[in-house]
Symmetry: C2
Subunit: 333 residues, 2 copies
């Protein structure tokens, strides 16, 4: 490992924010030499004995008040002496190159706190790339000593699953709404949510928020019972990001669940599974990169891919043929 | 290739239903020798010059009447002299091992037709496996001379994306509902739908169905304009699976869009892209299988995976280390 990486690792471990930013920029880079450096950095900072941060996923459709909720929650945690990092996973950035949280002014107060760190989503060419970078950024925040890492996502498509696969606890933020709209939340998302928080439970919307909360509480009871969790989870609660009402109580529930899962070993088991899956994904991506490094193999790959694309070969058979040189190389080794 | 596979291929190409069933069972098998035979079969049947079936994806939440719509549409197509195959992609089968369309009696009349073929979803361990088998089953149906292949999915999570990636045209079936529920359809699904069909447009619900259709037509106009398609696509239409009303008209729109996309070369380009993606996915999966065939490499993989899972190593760095023998074998070859 180079001296620079060693130094960067030390500075991240010491909690230096600029070093953390640089580290995240490194894991976001697609340059091969940066990639190798990023892996070395992450490996240097890996520590099985570090208790790590509480990793919390947060999802909600645009307009539900995700940024203000994050700001209100983040400020409370900082006041309580905790260090909070906020990351974002935006699947649409794979298409548009855009980013959520790009406008940091939406969390103006939180972003000024020394104990808080807010990082917008990187643009990436595909969803897998977004996920890889976000989870590596998460590991860096953890190594930098953050107590809580919030991973935000907009409620579109596959992003909730991705985020739930890198966090310990998943929160779903909803707006007050008539009972008819219950079906607007995908069942798959209800299934990963540990807490449903109905935001905007203030002023004119307070009563409607209570009703929405009751509706979702009922739906959660119908939907499933995770035997491994305390009896009252998953649950639905009301919060108001604007007035702050209910936010501390909701967080207390998050902490109670986190404590339970830590003590029962659920979190450790879940993290081990997640890290195993990341390994598999990295393996799949890495091996194709490796094949492409060899010019003759890359040409063979391109030829067979073209045969699959034209319909001349079945995709699976073409892929098998593409792997034949590798099979032989492994036999000869 | 074995004589048996050669024979099976010939019988599938001759349109023998039992041979088609056997072929699909073969692609669904996870046994390595079956897998190799399945790939040989698919490759034998690959034919870039075959015009192929019209591949149509169909999604809708449970209760919307997907099975009755499919039956009504299927019977009409069969009456019109077309051969119709119905496949199903059920992401939940990755968890439950269950299947949709399992109850063929729900399409009792269609399943008795000689020109129709209905195949429930295979159980699979993961969503990638479900997708692989479904698209290979689709290729077999095409080789067996079906004119239309309908690929059904329940509207949960990632399955619509999977299905849209293996079809030419995507239909979304909805129930009549108040305008407020518009947000219940995920934007990502609205974006892949070429036709939105509001079912149950009969009896008491007829007026509500018209309103729902108008709402969605408006939403589609706001959402996007695919410049490559005719001006009036994507569109929303009313149908009644029960009375059959609107079904022929809706299918005429499907055929008009299909014709347009065929003539402009859009379908050919899209299929080439899809087949290229399938190739990449097969490649990724195949290479990991290959590494696991070598006992020493497999042990190394397991060790490094364990290091990643325990947090001792960073997943990406462990994956890179796992690939090191491969890198060396390729250099030596």
């Amino acid at each position: 490992m180079s001296i620079e990486i060693e130094d960067l690792a030390a500075r991240i471990a010491a909690g230096e924010r600029r070093a953390l930013s640089r580290g995240i920029t490194l894991v976001e880079s697609t340059r091969p030499d940066h990639r190798a450096a990023a892996e070395a950095l992450l490996d240097r900072l890996a520590d099985p004995d570090r208790p790590g941060a509480l990793r919390v996923g947060l999802s909600g459709t645009p307009g539900v008040g995700k940024s203000s909720f994050t700001e209100t929650l983040g400020l409370r945690l900082v006041e309580g002496g905790q260090k909070v990092a906020v990351l974002a996973v935006d699947p649409s950035s794979a298409r548009s190159g855009g980013s959520i949280l790009g406008d940091k002014t939406r969390m103006e107060r939180l972003s000024r706190e020394r104990a808080a760190f807010i990082r917008p989503t990187p643009a990436a060419r595909h969803l897998g790339g977004v996920a890889r970078r976000s989870r590596e950024a998460l590991l860096l925040c953890e190594a930098a000593g953050f107590d809580v890492v919030l991973v935000e996502t907009v409620g579109v498509g596959q992003s909730e699953t991705l985020v739930s696969r890198m966090t310990d606890i998943f929160l779903l933020l909803l707006a007050p709404a008539g009972g008819d709209e219950l079906q607007g939340v995908k069942r798959g998302i209800m299934e990963i949510a540990d807490l449903i928080l109905v935001n905007k439970a203030d002023g004119d919307l307070a009563a409607e928020a209570r009703r929405t909360q009751a509706d979702y509480a009922g739906a959660l009871r119908l939907l499933r019972k995770r035997e491994i969790d305390p009896d009252d989870f998953p649950m639905a609660r009301c919060v108001s990001a604007r007035t702050g009402e209910g936010v501390a109580e909701a967080w207390a529930e998050v902490e109670r669940l986190a404590e339970w899962r830590r003590e029962t070993g659920i979190t450790a088991r879940r993290r081990a599974e997640q890290a195993g899956q990341w390994f598999e994904e990295e393996l799949r991506a890495g091996v194709v990169d490796l094949l492409r490094e060899d010019r003759a193999l890359a040409a063979r790959l391109d030829r067979l891919r073209a045969a699959a694309a034209s319909g001349e070969s079945a995709p699976a058979a073409a892929a098998r043929a593409a792997l034949e040189p590798l099979r032989q190389a492994l036999r000869g080794a």
